[in-house]
């Protein structure tokens, strides 16, 4: 059972991600934002549901498609938007753009522009928790494409051997850029790869908050009980191109429309919440309105923020303080 408060939080978070992304897309199209930007529209249920189970002291690692994870793990939209524009007020002083945003104060150990790069890092964060004897958990988000990197396999083995409190969350959206999963990946369900490492693996409908919640909750219980890692594959779909301006020769317009119309995770969540009767349509509309407002305000903040001073270029190459 998902509590009413948690449902509200998840729904709110999904909307915040969706409207942040749509704002990014529109700013990109107006040439007000540039760089490699990979949007998460259509996959919001995964980040929102998983992160609803995490505390600030729990860790995540994210990917090139990281805005959703970042927001779900507590990032402010305005500072994230400023970072996407390379502004001094952004999370990383304008140095990161879309693909390297991190907020260590919220347990977000960073987006990662290298496919598969974050998976061992989450594994290491879980090792830290184990060594310190805390009940922290680490969640690594990554795509189906990333599950073919050595880092995935090496991490699962390490975590399996060491029984680390880590949850590997594969967001299988059917493609790695243009390559369909069936063409790059030797198994139909990536969750079966857990077997090779003696780790429980589950495949769930990644557009269904309730289905994700059920396995994620169990995985966290397992992790905290010292029983080790879990692999969760969430089957989902990205509504937009791999990058803004992707001609998408690898799939049909009909396929995309079908997913949008019939399997939008936000619409599904809304219908379920209304069906269960603990929210009114007005309440849910209000949540959506607030998300739109927040995204608009974030864009305004970012557009009005200053560029970084070139004099800061060499700061932070090394830590200059003392222990």
């Amino acid at each position: 059972m998902i509590s009413k408060e948690r449902k509200r939080w998840i729904y709110e978070t999904m909307n915040r991600i969706r409207y942040f992304e749509l704002k990014v897309q529109s700013l990109f199209e107006q040439d007000k934002l540039r760089g490699s930007v990979h949007l998460y529209v259509g996959e919001e249920a995964v980040a929102a549901t998983l992160c609803s189970l995490l505390r600030d002291e729990d860790y995540i690692t994210s990917t090139h498609r990281g805005h959703g994870h970042c927001i779900a793990k507590g990032a402010r939209m305005d500072k994230a938007m400023a970072e996407l524009m390379g502004k001094a007020t952004g999370y990383c002083k304008g140095r990161s753009g879309s693909m390297h945003i991190a907020d260590f104060t919220k347990g977000n150990l960073g987006a990662n522009a290298i496919v598969g790069g974050g998976i061992p890092i989450a594994t290491g964060a879980a090792l830290a928790a184990k060594l310190r004897g805390t009940d922290q958990v680490a969640v690594s988000f990554f795509g189906d494409g990333a599950s073919n990197q050595g880092t995935f396999h090496e991490s699962l083995n390490l975590a399996g051997v060491w029984k680390l409190p880590v949850i590997y969350v594969c967001e299988n959206n059917g493609f790695g850029i243009s390559v369909p999963t069936w063409q790059s990946t030797s198994v139909g369900d990536i969750s079966v790869r857990g077997t090779g490492y003696n780790i429980p693996g589950f495949t769930v409908d990644g557009n269904d908050v309730y289905a994700i919640y059920e396995v994620a909750e169990q995985a966290i219980i397992r992790a905290k009980a010292g029983e080790g890692p879990t692999l969760i594959e969430c089957k989902t779909y990205r509504h937009l191109g791999h990058w803004t301006g992707d001609p998408q020769p690898y799939r049909t317009r009909e396929e995309v429309e079908k997913w949008k119309q019939e399997n939008d995770p936000i619409r599904r969540m809304r219908e379920r919440m209304l069906q269960e009767g603990d929210f009114t349509p007005e309440e849910l509309d209000e949540i959506e309105r607030a998300a739109i407002q927040e995204a608009d305000d974030a864009a305004e903040f970012a557009l009005n923020s200053p560029e970084p001073d070139p004099a800061t270029l060499m700061e932070d190459v090394f830590y200059e303080g003392v222990q």
């Binding site: 390297h100 494409g145 790695g176 850029i177 063409q183 270029l313």
Partner: protein
């Protein structure tokens, strides 16, 4: 001669070599229907099929290593890496396997393997998608290193690379892809490795540059000329083998050397050239050689910061004048 973009020049050579030699095939991420994210393999799968134009999983260590193995077993693979920054993911296969296999097996193996892809600044792709990493491969014996700065060089050097029986790391530049160049039509047009190109003759200072910085060096030379300073601009084209003789002869004439590249200045390939020149022709030098390169920080996303991190045309002008004590 035809007018082609740098990207098309590369694509055409791959197609011609695949037609010429059925052992040649290409594999990489998204190279099939998408034609690679920079368009260098566009439509090749239509002619050659998806056996010889193979989409791969995102598994750089795997596909580079498979390239080494296929080459050992008699094929002539080309592996496209989307960003040369991703060579880092495949470093063991490149530096410990590809580079060393022939030598450690007493010369028994031949590794006709080309690893190619783009690198560099210009699009503000940030720390892991903007690097210039050619120096790292120059340091490890057993790999040839090519860096074409024009469409013709891309064509002539790539053809040489594909026909070479050694592993070649072929560095393209993302900012050059859309630019148009004159490219010879001869299907056997080859630029042999180890021959630098004197892009412009001059007598006061020698400027050595590669990739994107060849055009920047030429811009600087044009500006210097307005002030009565005559700069010679040399593009080494391949770092391994390196045509040091052409640079030596130039410095004997000019007595001054500026090396400029986008790769980090610290221990960059410019340091190697400056040291070679100092050792070989010290008595001819009228000033200490100067190296320009990216600052010792990861490349930032913000374009203003990216410019601040990398040498600009003014920096080349200033350095050239400094060798003339101006």
């Amino acid at each position: 001669m035809s007018i082609k973009t740098y990207a098309t020049a590369i694509r055409d050579v791959i197609a011609e070599e695949m037609r010429r030699d059925e052992r040649v095939f290409i594999m990489g991420e998204d190279i099939e229907t998408l034609g690679g994210v920079f368009g260098c393999t566009r439509d090749l799968y239509k002619e050659f099929g998806t056996e010889r134009v193979r989409n791969t999983p995102i598994s750089e260590a795997g596909i580079v290593g498979a390239g080494v193995g296929a080459a050992c077993a008699g094929m002539r693979p080309i592996v496209e890496l989307m960003y040369m920054d991703f060579t880092f993911v495949a470093m063991d296969q490149l530096l410990n396997q590809a580079a060393k296999t022939r030598y450690v097996f007493g010369g028994k193996a031949r590794i006709p393997l080309v690893i190619r892809g783009q690198q560099g600044i210009g699009r503000g792709n940030a720390a892991t998608h903007s690097q210039s990493v050619e120096t790292i491969f120059m340091h490890i014996p057993g790999l040839k290193v090519a860096c074409p700065s024009t469409g013709a060089d891309a064509a002539g050097l790539l053809r040489a690379a594909i026909r070479d029986d050694n592993p070649v790391i072929f560095f393209e530049h993302k900012a050059l892809y859309p630019l148009k160049f004159e490219v010879p039509d001869d299907p056997d047009f080859i630029i042999p490795f180890g021959r630098a190109d004197v892009k412009r003759e001059g007598k006061d200072v020698t400027i050595v540059a590669n990739l994107l910085y060849v055009s920047r060096a030429l811009q600087a030379a044009a500006e210097l000329e307005k002030e009565g300073i005559s700069a010679e601009v040399i593009d080494p084209r391949t770092l391994v083998p390196l045509d040091i003789e052409t640079i030596v002869n130039s410095v004997k004439k000019t007595g001054r050397l500026v090396v400029v590249h986008e790769a980090h200045r610290t221990a960059g390939w410019g340091a190697e050239i400056a040291a070679e020149i100092t050792e070989r022709v010290f008595p001819y030098l009228d000033a200490a050689p100067i190296r320009l390169g990216a600052k010792a920080c990861p490349l930032p996303f913000n374009l203003g910061l990216e410019n601040a991190a990398t040498p600009q045309v003014e920096d080349i002008i200033k350095a050239s004048k400094a060798t003339l004590y101006k």
